[in-house]
Amino acid sequence: MNNPVHSVLFLILNFCLASLIILIYEVEFLGLLFVMVYVGAVAVLFLFVVMMLNIKDEIKGKLTFLKIYIIILSLLIIFISIYTFFNENFVSNYNVLNTFKPLKYLTNTEIIGQILYNNYYFAFLIGGFILLVALVGSIVLTIHFKDSEELDKSYAQLSRTTLTLSKIKN
């Protein structure tokens, strides 16, 4: 692993492909949720940490296999998608041109809303609580005051009232 940014970018590719697999099965809420949460929050977090910590290996070598692999993979994806899109033997109900059917049944979002908020509301609330704990925990771990002067300044600023302000003015 010479470059951790490559690893994070391939992780993002993994998440996008997993979301695509889920979208094919008409579970559209979870597919979009995967992209939003996994790519938008977790992978961005990884990228920030990789940028901050500035990890570098001493051994620097040009990986030419990576470039060849990327070129072959992208060509395969483009060729296969164009070929299956224009070939009449690959008929499926999940084609892009069929998305303009009128909705006669419940969407995936409605079903999840019906079940999550009626039957499993306790689990939903506990999930929110877990998120709160994670938030507080990560802030507590990474916050640090340089001197105690910052704390004193914040106390002085918060305890200032209008009476003290008028006294200072006069």
Binding site: M1, P4, S7, V8, L11, N14, F15, A18, I21, I22, Y25, V27, L30, L33, F34, V37, Y38, A41, V42, L45, F46, V49, V50, M52, L53, I55, D57, N108, I111, I112, I115, L116, Y120, A123, G127, I130, L131, V133, A134, L135, G137, S138, L141, T142
Partner: protein, 98 residues
């Protein structure tokens, strides 16, 4: 058909697992492998819910998603703090062997 999906999920799981095990560079790669394992398990839940026409698998995968995000956040916070104290995130280094 379901066997095909399960085998793909298990392949992804073992790829992440091997990434966690055979890692001598940094703890960040371990966290990435962990994310891959959690992704494969939630995909497994979704495929089972599609096969059995039961909605609980998709709802549980939402919770696995939130747990993975929380775990990544806290793990990365710990990593940042330890990097400040130690100055490196290589797993095997000469100073630890002393």
């Amino acid at each position: 058909m379901l066997i095909f999906q399960i085998s793909i999920n298990s392949l992804l799981f073992f790829i992440g697992f091997i990434g966690v095990i055979t890692n001598y560079k940094s703890i960040l790669i371990t966290l990435m492998g962990l994310e891959l394992m959690l992704l494969s398990s939630s995909l497994n839940f979704i495929f089972f819910s599609i096969y059995l026409n039961d909605m609980y698998g998709q709802i549980f995968s939402i919770f696995i998603l939130t747990l993975a995000a929380c775990e990544a956040a806290i793990g990365l916070a710990v990593l940042i703090v330890s990097f400040k104290n130690l100055g490196r995130i290589k797993i095997d280094s000469e100073e630890e062997k002393r």
